[in-house]
Amino acid sequence: MQNATQNATTIEAIAPGAERYAAARSTLYSHLSSWLRFPWEDFHELALSGQLAPAAGECLAALPYSVGNAEELLAGLGAVEPEYDEFQSVYVSLFDVGAGGPPCPLYGGHWIGDRQKVMEEALRFYRFFGLTTSKEEKDLPDHLSTELEFLHFLTFKELEALRVGTDAGSPRRAARDFLVRHPARWLPLALKKLDKVEVQPFWRALVGLTAAYCKADAVYLIGSEGPVQE
């Protein structure tokens, strides 16, 4: 399989401007997608090592807009429960398992309603861009992690288009629509729920950062691409 980009680079290595913005946005989506998946031990080690906040901070700093007070947004990412079992158990009991479902499922369709329709549309977006959900992961198209990975993909397509000089409008419009119709629509509801239950600061911060970022990115894209079609 050919990679669209074979050689990895860093955000800092890209000259300030549109490419760098796209790179930062794409990298942040990639991080969040990965960090909001089930936390295996390697992720716990990473979180404990204190690298998450700097990594996210680097992206936030390179964005063409402000997501909010970065210090406040990132503060909780350092409050990592030292015991792995406890760390993952909080994730499980918050996002995956509970009486009548977990307190805060990370499935968009749960919050938006008409789940099948939400999943179908997400899948249609993925398929439009030649993707589908992985058989290995066996998760659903409206999981937050999947949605964020798709946004990572779209923003990277934007970066790729900017580099080769083709039209970046297509992935930007898609990202705008997908954000507005999916994660940016339901994350505030999920966040509201999180604020009602007892949550460790780390997970509150991670979802809070994601919600704030999705919202800001949607506003940014609407600003450049125009509003979402009714």
Binding site: A8, D42, L123
Partner: protein, 960 residues
Amino acid sequence: MDSTLTRRQFLRASGLTAVVLATSSLQVLVVPSDASGGQGVGEGTTLAARGGIYGDWRDVYREKWTWDSIARCSHTRANCISACAWKVYVKDGIAWREEQAQVYNEARAGAPDFFPRGCQKGAAYTSLMYAPTRLRYPLKRVGERGGGRWKRISWDEAIDTLADAIIDAAVEHGPETVVYDQGTTNIDFGPGTAGEFRLANILRASHIDGWAGVGDMPMGCVQTWGMFNCEGTSDDWFNSDCIVVWSGNPVYTRIPEVHFMTEARYRGAKLIVIAPDMNATAIHADLWVNPRVESDPALALSLAQVLIAENLIDSDYVREQTDLPFLVRTDTGRFLRESDVSSKGRDDAFYLWDETSGRPVLAPGSQGRSKPTLVLGAIRPALEGTFEVKLAGGGRVEVEPVFESLRRNLNANYRPEAAAEITGVAPAVIRKLTHEIAGAGTAMIFASWGACKHYHSDLMHRGMALLMALTGNQGKSGGGLRIASWWTVSGFERFSAQYDIKWWQSLLMKFMSRLPVRDMERLITEQSAKQLYTPLMPWLYVHAGYEQTMGNPDYNDAAGGLSVNDAVKTSLEREWVPVYPPPGKDPKVLFFSAPNPLRRWPTPQVALKNLWPKLDLIVNVNFRMSTTGLHSDLLLPAAGYYEKDSIKYTQSYLPYIVLAGKAVEPIGESREEWWIFGQLARRIQERAKRRGVGKLKDVFGNDFALTEVFDQWSENGKFVPEDSQPLLDQIFEQSEVCDSMTWKQALERGVIPIKRNGHYSSISAICTDQDINKPLYPHAWQVEGKESWPTLTGRQQFYIDHEWFLGAGEQLPVHKDPPAAGGDYPLRMTGGHTRWSIHAIWRDHDLMLRLQRGEPVLYMNDDDARVRRVADNDRVRVFNDVGTFETLVKTSGAVQRGQVMIYHAWEPYQFPGHAGQQEPVASPWKALHMAGGYGQLHYRINYGAPSHGPRGATVEVERV
């Protein structure tokens, strides 16, 4: 999992600072195998290749939605008492929607057809299977039981934890301290259930028999017929001229079948509903009769009184098919036995008074007679009169037919005017109801499982059976008392190893068209006694502290003759009813697959307090999180209904076996039960070998070896957990109900017609030969074929002279008011199965909740509400001496004064404090239900265990 970790490690660590995109860097999104368009990263899928640009969101809808596959599915372990074939539409590994499948043959002669079949729950399963309640990976409890904290673990760790706990318990305390609960028939007839039943049997674990425990044991039918799994196909309802729905609500509970009742009305049948509340079936009735809660026995007996008084009975039928002509001694109240008359006579042979010869003659076909036949020949049994008979000792005794004492009792206590006092039903209505039934060509009573759930349910059923016998309806097309039945799928049964049918028995069954029912019943009972089946209610009584509630004399029949405590003691001593592990030994490991005992068991708070602390490990295999899951130690995620190959359990309503193919892979890490229990068997064997565990003894003293568990389970490698197809093939090969075929051939068809009636079994007592071209009704072998019923007298037996019954005054069907189970409170809390869930499955599903009030609700009569200052939608506390819960109220004229009603199976976690509707339900059972050693009064798997009374608890309600 290791390789996944490595990949994740790489991505998370190396990706922190790098801007990377490669298809290999995407974790949850990939290029689909059918990629030919779109704007992607895959080869040939660039923007240019597609030639289109994303404009706005409408563009994603321009591509025609196509399906990757359409699978044949059903809802295999939903326990819905139905079976419906569905097409399930799949795209990208997701099951998106279902559609009712027309795979049934055309209608049978003179009856409407079976299509369409389905219900709204089934039509929404694609939604439920992806709901947030779904379990997606194995979990281990963290912190206190019930604390709601979980840790994800690997399958290896989960299965090894369970395997070790089973080995520890078996070695240290005996294998019977490992307990398997099969629950409320949340089973299929496929590999999943077969694999787990088989493992429990091989492990010599105690196997909870939950049939009566769920309140589904029609003890009155057990007492009267010696069987209860009696139904035919639902299109036979169409042949009835008068359908009496008594204590049921099929519009809610038999959604795929109930149309036959409506269609029967089109051809002129009357639909009569007898229920205290105006339920969804009652609104379609020609006549709705609403007796007071639990006054049904009095109503039935009053109808019987009118039938006899007005000579509306079928006396030839009564003489041949019932024990009503059997002679009873007026001095002892016991049947006149051959042993009374002759010193060499038998205790299980009985007399009739032959009007032709004017002397007593031995009745053919009783258990003590060699031939199981009801043919009377020249005998003309008397129904009336008193006679004198010479005894073996030389004395003389007065005898009379049962009919005589029945009539006397009915006349004395149940004339319509007297019954009206008990039931609240006007005498004129009682007479009208009697005339409707007696005047119909054929009349049937649809009782199903509803009437089993009351304290005196046996008296209700005995009354109903009496009406059908007096009018000659039992055993006729469109007639008789109907409960329910399954088809026997022997291939499933054999693998499950429920019975060890010996070679000579198989030979007999092969060369005779079938064994007589009474012989089959004896065989099943013998086999059952060799297994560790342990009926739920006595088990809870012994192990879970339920003697405090069920044994409370205030909650039991004061005129019951003996106390429940004495009955349990005597019954265990005499080995009438078994309990494993036996009293004095605690259960140590409890595992179950699909059931939800803390939702279902009465007073679950008592079990949590007394049973839970005894258990070292509680393991729950389920596709969804349940209340019991919350209180378990390990949660093992099972594949959903569309995620495995299986066979829907086969109720006789439908003359087909319905198949369920695997439409999609199980979500997350969930696995098929077949794999889970096969893998467990494998790990038990491996670990027992490693630990050097030697031979153990089971509770009966037989040797068995944990080091051979997998060899036995797999038949030395013939079956493997990774592939269920060989078993599916074998099930179809070995099941005489259908033509021999492979699983693949069967699945292509979707449903397989039932060609033959499987043998009489623990779950099938249809007792009529199946003809695929005709609607089926039960009991033709007895009524047309004149074969004995499997009772002591060989008849539908209305007189029971067991000493306990005589002591309780219940030798004949009588009416008794139910005890105040819960204390002295003015309201009776009833219930019923709901339209919006199958037990707890779908109960918390948003699509179903949207169709109701969205949370638990108690129906209360407006007048009762008013005096308590309760308004519609108020929150109330429902309480008695045993427990309490809070719920919303729906004020309604549809329920009677003095009755409150809450529909079935809300999950306790849907109530404040997780205190559910079962908390005040003391649910005692009658001492008489522990009786044994008497013809049909015996226990065996799925038969004859005490039926408890979860409905009718006494409660009070107050606004909170």
